[in-house]
Amino acid sequence: MKKIYLAISIIFLILLTNLIKNSSKNLETEIFDSFENLSVLTKELDYITLENNYLNSPTRLLELKKSLNEEAYFPIMITELKILKIEKNQILINNFNNDE
C-alpha cells in the first residue's frame, strides 16, 4: 500500500513539475515576445526621432525662415519676456529679470 502511495505521489509531483514548467515556459515565451516587440518599437521610435530631429534641425528651420516671411521672425529680447504666475487665484505678471 505504501508503495502505491509513494508511486502516486511521485507521479503527481512529476505532473505538477511538468505543469509548472510548461506555464513558466509560456511566461518565458511571452516575456521574450514582449522584449522583441519592444525592441522593434524602440527602433521605430529611434528612426522617427531621427526624422523629427532632421525636420526640427536649426539648419532646416533657418532655411524655412528664409523661404517664408523672414522679417516676421526676430530674436526675442529678454527685457520683453514676462513670467506669469497664479497665486491665491490672482494672476501675477513679473518681469523676467526681476523674478530672477
Binding site: 526621432t49 531621427l50 530631429n53 530674436p75 529678454i78 519676456l81
Partner: protein, 557 residues
C-alpha cells in the same frame, strides 16, 4: 587433503544456501539489463546532443550576417535634449560583380535607366576590370527594392551598418571619427570606444544642438568679418562644469570620413595651447586677494609706463593710463605694470600655487583625448612679471574657462565635462576663498559696463554680462609674430553667475567696412575696426552670441 576440505566446504554452502545462490544468479542478469538500458539511454542522449550540435553548426552560416552586424554595432550618441548626434543605421549598398554579366549591352541599358546621373564611361572601365565595385551606397529602401526587382545576377545588394552624424559638421571636434573597423580614432568615439561597442545604452552629452548651432553661426560670421584663420568658443555651466557648447572652426563633415592632417583643423578649445594675454590679469588679482597681499581698493602710485626686466621692456598697452591706480582700476583698464606690481607683492611660489589651484598651468584630464598641455615655465623674477599680465605663460582655452568658473562661482572646484550625469553630488569642494568671487565679479561687470572698461560691446541689456579681454601676439615656432590671439571670457548673469562663455579669434584682421553698434543706449554707430584687439573683435562676437542664445538659456534652463 586441502582439496577435499574445500570440496566439503563448497558442498555445505551449496546445500545450505541453494535459494540464495539462485537469487544471486538472477541479480546478475537484472544488473546486466539495467546497464544495457542505461547505456541505451545514454546513447540516445549523446545522439540527440550530436544532432543538436550538427544543427547549430549548419545554421551558423545562415546567421553569419547577423554576427557581422553585431560586430559593427555602436551605441548612439545624443545631446542633452535627446537629439541624435551619432547614430548607427542599416544602409543599403548596391554593387556590381562584372564576372556575372551575361549581356553587357543589355546590362548597361538597364543601369542607364536606373542610374541616369552616373558617369557611364567610368562604369564601363570598372566593368572591364572584372572586379567587384559599388555603384551607389546608402540607397533609400524604396530604390533598393526596385534595384532588386531588376533581377540581374551581376547587381549585388547588401545591407550594412553605417555610422551617420545627422548634424554633419556641428560636433565634429567633439564626436571625432571612427575607422573602417568600427574603432573610434578621435574625439568621444575614441575615448568612449569600449562603452559604445559594449552597451546598447545611448551616450548622453551635456551639449545642446540649438545653442551649438547658434554659436557656430556667429563664429562663421566672425570669420567673414575679421578674416580669421580660425576661431573657437566654449559655453560652460559655471557651477557643475557641464559644457553646453564647444565649437572650433574650421571643422569638417563627419559623414565624409576624411583623413584630417592640416593643423588648422585642431580643436582649439582643448588642444590649442596659447599665450592668452590680459585674461590672466584676473588670476593675478584673485591670487593677491587669496593671499591677502592686496584689497580691491589698494592703491599703486606712480606706476611707470614702462619697466625693464633682464633687459627686456615691459610696457603699458594704453599710454593714456593714469599713473595712480587702485587694484580694481588696474583690472578694468587692463594695466600691465600694475599687474606686475601685484604679482611681485604675492611672490612667485604663492602665485604659482594659486594658478595650480584653479587648474591653469597643470595638465587637465578631459573626456576626449585631444587635449593640449600648458608649456613648462622656468619660473624666475622676470617670468613672474610677464606671467602677471599673461605673457610667457600658456594654457588651453578649456582650462581658462575652468579657471574663470572657479573664480566667479564662489570658489568651488569644477570639472569641465561633456558627459551628462544623472545625479550631481551636493558636496562641492571650495578651492579658493568665497569672498574672491564677491570682490572680483563686480570688477568684471565694470569692464563691460563702464566706459573705461575694454568690453563695452558685450553689454547686452538684460544679461548682466561681466568679463575680461585678452589680446596676445601669436607665437609661431617659438617666435612672436604680428598675428594676434584675441580672447574674451564672459560670465553672465554676473549678479548670480550661471554661465562662462569664452570666445577666441585666431589671427583676426581689422575690417574697415564693419559697423559697430554701441551698447550704451546712445545708439551710436562706428564704421570700421579701430584696433585689432579683443575689445573690438571677440567682445563684439560675444555680444552677438549672447543676444542669440540668451533667450534660450534664460527660458529653457
Amino acid at each position: 587433503m586441502m582439496n577435499k576440505a574445500i570440496d566439503e566446504r563448497l558442498v555445505i554452502v551449496d546445500s545450505d544456501n541453494e535459494f540464495s545462490f539462485k537469487k544471486n544468479k538472477s541479480n546478475l542478469n537484472i544488473s546486466f539489463n539495467r546497464s544495457a538500458f542505461i547505456f541505451f539511454c545514454f546513447l540516445i542522449i549523446v545522439l540527440l546532443f550530436s544532432i543538436k550540435v550538427f544543427y547549430f553548426a549548419s545554421i551558423s552560416d545562415k546567421n553569419k550576417s547577423v554576427t557581422i552586424l553585431n560586430n559593427d554595432f555602436r551605441a548612439d550618441i545624443i545631446d542633452r535634449n535627446g537629439e541624435f548626434l551619432a547614430k548607427s543605421v542599416i544602409t543599403n549598398n548596391i554593387g556590381i560583380d562584372p564576372k556575372l554579366i551575361n549581356n553587357k549591352k543589355k546590362f548597361l541599358l538597364k543601369l542607364k535607366i536606373f542610374f541616369p546621373d552616373k558617369n557611364f564611361s567610368d562604369i564601363e572601365k570598372k566593368i572591364s576590370k572584372k572586379k567587384f565595385f559599388y555603384i551607389e551606397k546608402k540607397v533609400s529602401p524604396e530604390r533598393f527594392e526596385k534595384v532588386k526587382l531588376l533581377g540581374e545576377k551581376a547587381i549585388r545588394t547588401e545591407k550594412k551598418i553605417t555610422r551617420i552624424y545627422p548634424q554633419s559638421n556641428l560636433f565634429s571636434h567633439v564626436l571625432g571619427q571612427i575607422d573602417d573597423d568600427n574603432n573610434g580614432i578621435s574625439g568621444l568615439e575614441k575615448s568612449f570606444n569600449n562603452q559604445l561597442k559594449s552597451t546598447k545604452d545611448k551616450l548622453q552629452l551635456t551639449l545642446d544642438t540649438n545653442i551649438q548651432f547658434l554659436i557656430r553661426e556667429e563664429l562663421i560670421k566672425s570669420q567673414k568679418i575679421f578674416k580669421t584663420y580660425g576661431s573657437a568658443a566654449i559655453l560652460m555651466d559655471i557651477n557643475n562644469g557641464e559644457i553646453i557648447s564647444l565649437v572650433s572652426l574650421p571643422d569638417f563633415d563627419l559623414n565624409k570620413r576624411e583623413e584630417i592632417k592640416d593643423l588648422k583643423f585642431i580643436n582649439r578649445i582643448t588642444k590649442g595651447v596659447y599665450e592668452l594675454g590680459s585674461v590672466f590679469k584676473t588670476f593675478t588679482l584673485a591670487a593677491g586677494l587669496q593671499e591677502k597681499a592686496i584689497e580691491t581698493d589698494t592703491e599703486f602710485k606712480n606706476l611707470p609706463k614702462s619697466i625693464s626686466c633682464a633687459g627686456n621692456p615691459i610696457r603699458e598697452y594704453d599710454l593714456n593710463i593714469p599713473p595712480d591706480l587702485t587694484v580694481e582700476e588696474i583690472l578694468i583698464r587692463s594695466g600691465n605694470i600694475g599687474s606686475v606690481r601685484i604679482a611681485q607683492k604675492i611672490g612667485e611660489e604663492k602665485f604659482r600655487n594659486f594658478l595650480k589651484q584653479v587648474g591653469i598651468i597643470n595638465p587637465i584630464k578631459f573626456d576626449i583625448q585631444e587635449v593640449g598641455q600648458p608649456l613648462n615655465i622656468n619660473w624666475g623674477k622676470c617670468k613672474l612679471a610677464t606671467a602677471a599680465f599673461g605673457h610667457g605663460i600658456t594654457t588651453t582655452p578649456l582650462q581658462l574657462a575652468k579657471g574663470y568658473s572657479i573664480i566667479s562661482n564662489g570658489g568651488y572646484y569644477v570639472k569641465p565635462t561633456l558627459i551628462k550625469k544623472k545625479f550631481y553630488q551636493n558636496d562641492r569642494i571650495r578651492v579658493i576663498n568665497k569672498n574672491i568671487s564677491e570682490q572680483i565679479n563686480p570688477i568684471l561687470r565694470k569692464i563691460v559696463s563702464t566706459k573705461i572698461g575694454t568690453a563695452n560691446l558685450a553689454n547686452i541689456e538684460g544679461y548682466d554680462v561681466g568679463g575680461k579681454t585678452g589680446t596676445a601676439q601669436k607665437s609661431i615656432n617659438g617666435a612672436y609674430s604680428n598675428e594676434k590671439i584675441n580672447t574674451f571670457v564672459s560670465i553672465f548673469p554676473i549678479s548670480n553667475p550661471r554661465y562662462t562663455l569664452l570666445v577666441l579669434l585666431d589671427e583676426p584682421k581689422i575690417n574697415s567696412e564693419y559697423v559697430y553698434e554701441y551698447k550704451d543706449g546712445t545708439n551710436f554707430k562706428l564704421k570700421g575696426t579701430p584696433r585689432n584687439t579683443a575689445g573690438w573683435t571677440s567682445v563684439e562676437i560675444t555680444g552677438k552670441i549672447i543676444e542669440k542664445i540668451g533667450p534660450i538659456l534664460a527660458t529653457k534652463y
